[in-house]
Each structure stands twice: as structure tokens, then as C-alpha cells.
Symmetry: D3
Subunit: 136 residues, 6 copies
């Protein structure tokens, strides 16, 4: 699992109990996961399709640093499935785990688009030539 | 089910497909649900504990108006369980349904706090006197 | 008067006195009122035309929950007039009252557009077929 | 009248008609006016008390630059009254005028605090020594 | 040097040390400087090209008011160069100085566009007629 | 150099030319760099001290994905120095390079605090026991 994004918990991310607000955390996860899906499918038109159950195991307080880990677990015909783990860097505690998040890549008309990939890339060669050309 | 909050979908809520970004929607739901839990439990110290699986059935485009409905389905000793439906006011389409969201009320030390309620209030008489006194 | 939107007062909504910042409150009201006008006029192109005087009677502190109430009071040829009351759910105190807010519905060229309505709807049948059609 | 703050109208400030959203504008005005009141009263604990009626005369589109002008018109015992004009720098059109905005300065207990000023300062010597001392 | 924009330091602008976060400050400066460049070049298509070294000399705490000063120092063929000073209004301390910020004006195809100006304007007569016409 | 944070360029990050706004980019960099400094110094009280000159070499458009790379280059007695590179994942173009960013770690009184580290950690064992203990 790759832990890429780290977030520093700021005052605006807290609930009235002084701990990390669930809604901020879900937004951070979706932000990060959708970018990961874009790179894996070489497509910027990505929509969230499904999120499996979410257990909030512990929280974080102001000033804590959390990191969000994602791992691709399955490539469908037009979709990518990944799992997610969030942990507190300072205390090492797990914050939450999501087994399954499914994103679908769309074509320019908003229809699911077959992507032809079956494994994870560590390069970024999946974006089509038209997008990769600096002269666009 | 009470549909309270309505949101107008603005440019900053869109993904690259021009449809409502999943992360914005989850944040709106949690924002709304936590306030509903505060009122039902008479407690501002509310944390998100569990969210069941989420199916994104359709989306919304810029300028659409969505509304978020919540219904309390169970009162535990320290928790409240609710279900959620989001729909597009203009097209009438369902956007997503979440069967179960669980919030827990905490005391001032961050421990789960028994609330003693077993049914939904339509008044706002659950906040303790100390908070209700304008002279605080 | 319908009280729809509830807001939980968060750290970023406070002024240096630790009370709800007037600018945040005015933005919340306009956000909510413009959506109400959209539904009543069946038109997403709504602009704020006039706001009558605003008395800030009391405020709210962090963690308070406020609710915003709106009532349509008049339908003009191209406009809708409403009144607004904001109150603190926890203390029951009124926060402010605005007697008159006027919104105008525009056509696609930005000109005032007659709407033909004279009373409040509780359905959402005022949006034209083109917008209501899921296949748009 | 001093025109200090200029704002560039960005996508997130637009309504569905593609013009400047009233709520964004009111928030900008209150942000700017409260800072002006802080400087004139030498007090950071400033609350908005009253805003007279607001006529939205014209609007602005994305990319326009607007400027917000404020002028102190009266010093009460604990308050300051100002007027406000907003105009579009590019088209020179007036956007709105507010005759009267009243702010009150508070003491550390949240009570109105006499300020002793009767005219506008162009220096910033009104903040008490304790705040001005870099060693605080 | 003209000091136009003033900012009140709010909770969301603070780092974990309780002082003004460097990233917020840099964003405020760029926001302000780009609007100043738009007015001086009569062009809304302005991009940041170069920023010289930045020394953070002191900071500010919550409730402080800072002001941002900008002065045009050079007009290139397609560019404008300015210097920037930020100071704390309350304590009079300098916060940072940037000797050189360069912006370039672009044409509708994103190419550098000669502007023909060699000195600072205090009027706003540099925007072309098409933009200045209220009937656009 | 480690490339951790990826950002998807959204409408609110664009200037009037439709390219990535410099101020958004600088804020993202400072956000990311300060978290990296926190982990390397085992200290949440981190302030930005110095940023060397910044050349904006190319930009990015809406929907592009950029990544931000950071490398620690020097450990001072109370400071950490790093360099930064930002590139466009899709086009592979470099967006900007900053040779030197200096952060200082502070103690609880806001004074520079010796940290005792001389090399980069890939573990997160630098936070003191008091912070690492989940029972805090």
C-alpha cells in the first residue's frame, strides 16, 4: 500500500469534541483516491461509484499528522477498485479502513469507457498522447 | 424522512466529468447528519462512528439543486443511528442512499455518554439548561 | 415560516470576540435564500436585487447550532420577495430578522423573465420539462 | 471615501447566471469593514450591529475587478458608523451602495466599550500599548 | 508604496505554533499582486513568472491585522515588475519583504502580449473599450 | 526526491488565463513542505523562515495532475533546509523549482529549538513519547 498524501489537522477540520471531523476526512480520501484512479486509468473523467462500509476506529487531534494509503485491488472493464487505510503518523494508530472503493472512467459523453489495463502502473504512461503533448 | 438541507451545485463541487464530486457530497452529508444528531441527543460533542456502504446511483450537474434527507432509525445507549437519502430536486432522481450512519455522543472527557433518549424529538428541548441559558 | 438549513458554528466562522462573524451569517442566508427562490420560480438564474435593513440582535458562539427560516411574502411579475429569521436552536434566541429580500429570475440573456406564479409551491414541479428530463 | 480592497471575480464567486453571487459580495464587504472598524477603534473585538438596506444596482462577471470603498460617517460612544460603495473597476459601474453599517467595539467580557474617538485616523496609533509591544 | 489590502488573521490562517501560516501569507500576496498587475497592464490574463527570495522576518498572531504593500518598479515589453512589503498594523513590525515579483500579460492565445506602458497609472483607463463597455 | 502529494487542478485554482494560479501553487507547496519538516524534526511547531527565488517555468490547466517533490538538503541546529520540484504528471513538464526552503522548529515558548538530527528519517520515530502515546 502506498501512503502518499499527508494532512496536518487544522482548526477548521475539528468537530466540537476537538477531534478530526469525519466529513473532512472523507473528502480528503475521495480527493486522493480519485487522483490515484486518474493515473491508473489514464483518464481524467473519473466518478466515484461505490464505497464499502467505513469504521472510524480512532480519531486525531489538532496538530496531528495523518497519512492516507491506497492500493489498487482490481481492474474491471471500465472500473478500478482500491482499498484505503488512514493512520495517525504520530501515534501510529489506525484511524479507518475502507475495503472497497470503486471508480469508473468515462468517455467524453459520460459513458463508461473500457480502459484495457489489468495491473498497477508506477510510471505515468497511461495518459493518451493528446494529453501528454506539451503543445496542446 | 425529513429533507432539510438543499445545496446548489457550484463550479467548485464538480469533477473533471462536469458532475458532482463524490467527496463534496460526502462532506455535505456528514455536516448535515452531525447537526441532526446534536439536536436529537442534546449534545454538541458528536463523533461519526460508522457509515454503511454507499452506492452512487446518479449524479448532478452544475446548477442542479440537491436535497439531503435524514431519518433516525435507532437510539442506542450512547449512540444514534440514522439513514440518509440524497436526491436531485430538479430531475427527481435518487443520487445515493446510505442505510446506516452511527454517531456517538461524548462527555467532556471524550468518553461515550448515555443519553437516555429513545425517540425522535421535533422540539429542541434536549440541550441541558446550562447551554440553553442565554446568560452563559 | 420554514426553517430548513441548520448550521453548526465552527472556528472559522468566529470573529475576534469569539462570536459568529456577521459576514459568514450573511453568506449563509443568501446561499439558502437563493435556493429557495430557484425552487419557487422554477429557474436557476436567480440574482439578489434588494435586502432591507438588518438588525443583529444577538449572536452565537462556537458549537451553537443556528437555523435559517424563510417565507415567501410576495410574487412580482419577474421577482419573489421573502422574509428571513435566524435563531439559535440551543438558546432559542433570535439572531436577526430581515423583512424583505427580493430576488429576480432571469432568462438566458440575463433579462428579467416573467414567471407566472402567485403562490408558494411545496412540490418541485416548477422546473421546465427540459431540466426535469434525466436524459438531458 | 477610501477604496482599499480589490477583488478579482473568480469562478467560485458566480451564481448560475454567471454573475457575481450576492452572498460572496456581502461577505467581502463585512470582512473589509470590520478591519476598518478595528483600526478606527483600536480594538480587535468588533461586532456587526446594523446594516441599512442594500440595493444591488449592477453585477460583475468572471474576471472583473471590483473595489470596495468605506467612509466613517459617525463615531458613537461605543460604535462606529460607516458607509460603503462597491464599484466595478473595469466598467466603472456602481455595483451597490450601503448608507449605514454600524459596528460596536466590545471589552474582554463582550460588553460595549467606550472608545473615546470622534474622528478618523490615518495613523494606526489607536491600538493600546499592550498590543503594540512586539514583546507580547 | 501603496498599502491596499488588509487582512485580519483568523484561526484557519495559523500554524501549530499559533502564528500566521506562511502558505496563507504567500497566497494573499499573490492574490493582491495579480490584481495590481491587471490594473497596471489593462489585462486580465496575467500570470506569475518570477518571485525573488523571501525572508520571513517576524510573524503575526490571531487577531492581528496585516497590510500588504506593492510598488511597480519596472515595466518590461510584456511584463511588470513590482516589490512587496508586508507589515503588522498593530505592532508596526515588518513581516516580510520581496524585492521582485514579475507578472506577464498574455493575449487570448496565451502568448506574451506587449502592453505599451512605461509608468504607473492611478486611473483605470488601461482596460480596452470592449471590456469597459457596460453593454458587453 | 520524494514525490508525495498530487493535486488535481480544479476550477477554483485557475487564473483568468485558464492556467494554474501561482498563489494556489505556493500554498500547496508550503502545506506539503511544512508537514515534511514536522516529520523530519519530530516537532509540530514549525515556521517558514526563508524561500529562495521561484521561477514559474510552465503552468497547468484544469484537469491536469501535478505532483510536488521535496528533498531535505541540510539539517541546521534548529532548522531543516529542503529543495522542491513541481511537475505536471500528464505532460511531464517541470512547473517550478525552488532550491532552498528553510523551516525552523520552535519550543513551546516560540523560541528556536535544537533538534539533534543530521539526516533524513524514513521512519516516524522522531516524535517524542508524550505525543506518540495514544493515551494522551
Amino acid at each position: 500500500m502506498n501512503f502518499h498524501t499527508r494532512k496536518w489537522v487544522r482548526p477548521e477540520d475539528l468537530n466540537a469534541n476537538g477531534t478530526l471531523f469525519g466529513g473532512s476526512l472523507l473528502r480528503w480520501i475521495d480527493d486522493e483516491a480519485v487522483v490515484y484512479a486518474m493515473i491508473q486509468l489514464g483518464n481524467q473523467r473519473i466518478v466515484t461509484k461505490y464505497i464499502s462500509e467505513i469504521n472510524f476506529r480512532s480519531s486525531a487531534v489538532q496538530g496531528d499528522i495523518i497519512e492516507i494509503g491506497l492500493k489498487a485491488t482490481h481492474f474491471g472493464r471500465t472500473s478500478i477498485t482500491m482499498s484505503c487505510r488512514v493512520r495517525n503518523i504520530i501515534t501510529s494508530e489506525p484511524i479507518l479502513t475502507i475495503d472497497t472503493i470503486v471508480f469508473v472512467g468515462l468517455d467524453e459523453f459520460g459513458r463508461p469507457k473500457p480502459h484495457g489495463f489489468t495491473d498497477v502502473t508506477f510510471d505515468r504512461d497511461r495518459f493518451p498522447e493528446g494529453l501528454r503533448n506539451p503543445g496542446r
